[in-house]
């Protein structure tokens, strides 16, 4: 069995059936972030102050926990998609390109995980 396909066999086969996924992913997360982002900004304004106790109570409310987690997760994915475009447009060397994408993927996963972990830790121990 040959593990290497010849270029001749691969060219002209059409698209990989996923050409619009990235574009749609950006739009859908974008629309979600308009809502979630404005909700979060308005919430900060509505809070009487940003004292620790008040912030803990705000984040600790079940609905806010879910919305805040969604904000962080959707923002991390939207950011990942955006950084991917920047890398594709400006990083041309194949090796650095691949390395940048791996760093971006791990970094965004890490930020998303830490954010959700923190959100569910807030007010849980007290």
């Amino acid at each position: 069995m040959k593990l290497v396909a010849s270029l001749r066999a691969l060219t002209g086969l059409g698209d990989a059936a996923g050409g619009t996924d990235h574009w749609w992913g950006q739009r859908i997360t974008g629309v979600a972030l308009v809502v979630l982002g404005l909700w979060f900004a308005a919430s900060l304004v509505i809070l009487p102050s940003l004292e620790h106790q008040l912030v803990v109570e705000f984040v600790g409310a079940p609905l806010n926990r879910v919305l805040l987690s969604m904000l962080c997760l959707v923002a991390a994915y939207h950011s990942y998609l955006g950084v991917q475009v920047v890398i594709e447009d400006y990083v041309h060397a194949a090796g650095i390109h691949r390395a940048s994408m791996i760093v971006s993927r791990i970094g965004h996963l890490l930020v998303a995980a830490v954010a959700v972990y923190a959100i569910f830790g807030i007010g849980a121990g007290a």
């Binding site: 629309v31 900004a41 106790q53 803990v56 923190a118 959100i119 807030i122």
Partner: protein, 92 residues
């Protein structure tokens, strides 16, 4: 925007860490440098949001005339400035 996401996460971690850690974080953000970072990021956020809506309108095939494109560009800049100013004025 990605740096802002990291900053938001840092804020959440400090809220979770406890009152003392949060106070320290809030103090760092109250310095002139901290304020500039926060105001700069909030402006970038609102600008990105407004311009994102502009792009969503473009995605429907509307607003491509030169006059419309120039008008929406100014609208985005002015909206971002006003929302940022309003946000910091209302924030207690």
């Amino acid at each position: 925007m990605t740096a802002g996401l990291i900053l938001l996460t840092a804020w959440l971690v400090n809220v979770a860490a406890g009152a003392a850690e949060y106070k320290q974080f809030a103090a760092a953000m109250s310095t002139l440098f901290g304020r500039l970072v926060l105001i700069g990021w909030s402006f970038a956020f609102f600008f990105h949001l407004a311009n994102g809506i502009r792009h969503l309108v473009w995605d429907t095939g509307r607003g491509f005339e030169k006059r419309q494109a120039n008008a929406s560009a100014w609208f985005v800049i002015i909206a971002a400035v006003l929302i940022t100013a309003g946000f910091w004025t209302l924030l207690s």
